[in-house]
């Protein structure tokens, strides 16, 4: 009998039932999508941000010491301030090797350009270097990947031994020299050798690099007389957002218990990746680029806040819409409900009718909404991050709780109406 009443009520007003279902479906699918994206966004976002440059700098230990204590970045009195180029492939052998997205060594040396009074900084680096790893694999890395957001006219210099050496000019320097890709320039390094080199490309970085010359590492080493040495390595690594453990470890890894240490080491915190880099490079100090790491954390926090607000909004909106629909439904059926009350239905009897209807809409709409939400989150993942977002099991109980909350909130006004509805008033057409 009960089901006949519920079902009859639904079948009688198919449109309203469909709308109720649709409201549920919309709210739940949005919430599911947002929750799914949120649980995945840290990872996706990180990967995305990794296309915007290095978040780790590796420098020689003594240089780091001088920089930390005396604010010296370069200058006299620093003898041992180089890293060894031949050790760099080891970066791809650490525990979190796969999280190292790109890296490039840097060696700076002053050069004198024909037609320019002051010396200009030449930066020796890898542009698109293929490395053979100790494991037998090969990887390609360098400025091209690390600085993918720089805009480049022309091409990066080739760096294979067979390639003719070339240089890339920063935008402002190129403008000063009135040079464009395809022309050549004459420069003299520390070694006193005068070289005529083709300009392969002009790049715009938006920083001090725009006034510098980028040259293949080997050329810089030759000009500076520093064969096989580099000053610094910039590393872009995928990291897990810092937490308490990571912060304690960053201050002093020795303070961790063995188990904590293990957890820390096997999590891709920026501090544990830095630690692992220091393990494989001689006398190296790996330092997080704090500004970047912090900004990333903040942006991530803001994005998550925004998503949470959106999810709440979606649910509030669907609860309101539901409340409206259910209340209007009760208004429409007030005579019927008055009849039921008159012939002896108690408060619970009539409330359960409405609750059953909402639960049905919640169950079906929620179920469909969940499926739609999974599809939606994948769509968001594909269009925003270019990678799919898989359904997160933790979302299911969350969605269940949310459906319940939305249903309760959405039904309350209608229940109030039901309780107040006096059969006397509807039965005599007043």
């Amino acid at each position: 009998m009960f089901f006949r009443l519920v079902w009859g009520g639904i079948a009688r007003r198919r449109w309203r039932a469909l709308l109720t279902l649709f409201t549920m479906l919309l709210g739940v699918s949005l919430a599911t999508a947002i929750l799914n994206v949120m649980l995945d966004v840290g990872d996706k976002f990180n990967r995305e941000l990794r296309t915007y440059g290095a978040n780790l700098r590796v420098v020689p230990r003594s240089a780091a010491f001088l920089a930390d204590f005396y604010g010296l970045e370069e200058g006299e009195g620093v003898t041992d301030k180089y890293l060894r180029e031949d050790e760099l492939p080891r970066l791809k052998t650490i525990f979190w090797a796969y999280n190292i997205v790109d890296f490039a060594p840097l060696l700076t040396t002053p050069v004198v350009l024909e037609g320019v009074d002051q010396p200009v900084t030449a930066v020796g680096t890898w542009f698109n270097q293929t490395l053979s790893l100790p494991t037998g694999d090969t990887v390609t890395t360098g400025v091209q990947g690390l600085k993918s957001w720089w805009s480049l006219k022309g091409a990066w210099p080739g760096e294979a031994a067979s390639d003719p050496a070339g240089v890339a000019l920063g935008e402002s320097l190129a403008r000063r020299l009135r040079l464009s890709p395809g022309e050549s320039l004459v420069l003299t390094g520390q070694d006193g050798v005068r070289r005529t080199l083709p300009v392969t490309g002009v790049f715009l970085a938006g920083g001090r690099e725009d006034g510098q010359i980028y040259v293949p590492l080997a050329l810089a080493q030759a000009m500076a007389g520093k064969t096989g040495l580099v000053e610094e390595v910039e590393v872009s690594a995928l990291t897990t957002p810092e937490n308490d453990l990571a912060r304690r470890a960053a201050q002093s890894p020795a303070s961790l218990s063995a188990k904590e240490w293990e957890t820390w080491y096997c999590t891709a915190y920026i501090s544990s990746i830095a630690y692992q880099i220091e393990e494989v490079l001689t006398d190296a100090r790996a330092k997080p680029v704090l500004a970047v790491a912090e900004a990333e954390g903040k942006i991530l926090g803001k994005v998550e806040l925004l998503l949470t607000l959106l999810a709440i909004l979606a649910l509030v909106a669907s609860a309101l819409a539901l409340a409206n629909l259910v209340t209007a439904g009760v208004m429409e059926r007030r005579v019927e409900i008055g009849i039921l009350k008159a012939i002896g239905a108690g408060d619970l009897g009539v409330i359960s009718l409405v609750v059953a209807e909402v639960l049905l809409a919640g169950g079906v709409g929620g179920g469909l909404g969940y499926l739609l939400g999974i599809g939606l989150s994948d769509l968001i993942g594909q269009s925003v991050f270019g990678a799919s977002i898989s359904p997160h099991p933790a979302v299911i109980p969350l969605v269940l709780v949310l459906v319940f909350l939305v249903s309760v909130v959405g039904t309350l006004p209608a229940i109030r109406l039901l309780l107040r509805l006096n059969p006397r008033e509807v039965l005599h057409g007043r």
Partner: protein, 223 residues
């Protein structure tokens, strides 16, 4: 002993005195007709007797039990267990069949019993129409379903507010015949009407005017 007794019952709707100082006694098995012009308080009186409303003052007894002070929930229980309501507008649930409408009263009372509900429909001459929705029935037929529903739980008191007000002559006769039969079987009926020939079917007529009982007279069909 009276099955229903009202002692100086008054009803005040925010200044409008719908009933004032009404005294009334109904004996078991009696058929009472309440008559009077529109707005005289007939429906108000029926609502108070039918536990759909409570008087502003005065006392109401049903089977010697005072009901004027009961809670809404207790009134619902009395309506469900002891009163059968028949309305001028029939008030069937439009998406349930005739049979289901009768079973609905059983459902809230105790347990739906299809055979019993079927028998009730047969008694009002609608055995063949049990699968029809109210919209597929004529007014007279709908009223008969309503009567079947009112009677299904064997109420102590039948209340009918203008039961024939929306019916034509022929259907009025059918409905009156059913009420007559019910009365003969010992049922107690309180009926509102403003058609004298309908009122004369009852044992007794009382006249309401401006919320007061102005005249009560015995009629034929003494029991």
């Amino acid at each position: 002993m009276a099955i229903l007794e009202l002692q100086s019952v008054s009803m005040d709707y925010g200044g409008v005195k719908a009933l004032s100082e009404v005294n009334l006694t109904v004996a078991p098995g009696e058929w009472l007709a309440i008559m009077g012009p529109s707005g005289s308080g007939k429906t108000t009186l029926m609502n108070i007797i039918g536990c759909l409303d409570q008087a502003t003052s005065g006392r109401v007894f049903l089977d010697a039990e005072e009901i004027s002070q009961l809670s809404r929930r207790q009134l619902t229980a009395i309506r469900r267990d002891r009163i059968g309501l028949i309305f001028q507008q029939f008030h069937l649930v439009s998406h349930l069949t005739a049979l289901e409408n009768v079973m609905l009263a059983q459902y809230y009372h105790s347990l739906p019993d299809q055979d019993e509900a079927m028998a009730a429909l047969e008694r009002v001459g609608l055995g063949g129409r049990y699968r029809h929705l109210p919209g597929q029935l004529s007014g007279g037929e709908q009223q008969r379903v309503c009567i079947a529903r009112a009677l299904i739980n064997c109420p102590d008191l039948i209340l009918a507010d203008e039961p024939t007000g929306n019916l034509d002559q022929a259907n009025e006769e059918i409905v009156l015949a059913i009420l007559r039969q019910l009365h003969q079987a010992g049922g107690t009926i309180v009926m509102v009407t403003h058609a004298l020939e309908v009122g004369q079917e009852a044992n007794r007529i009382i006249q309401l005017e401006h919320g007061r009982v102005t005249e009560g007279k015995r009629h034929r069909h003494h029991t």
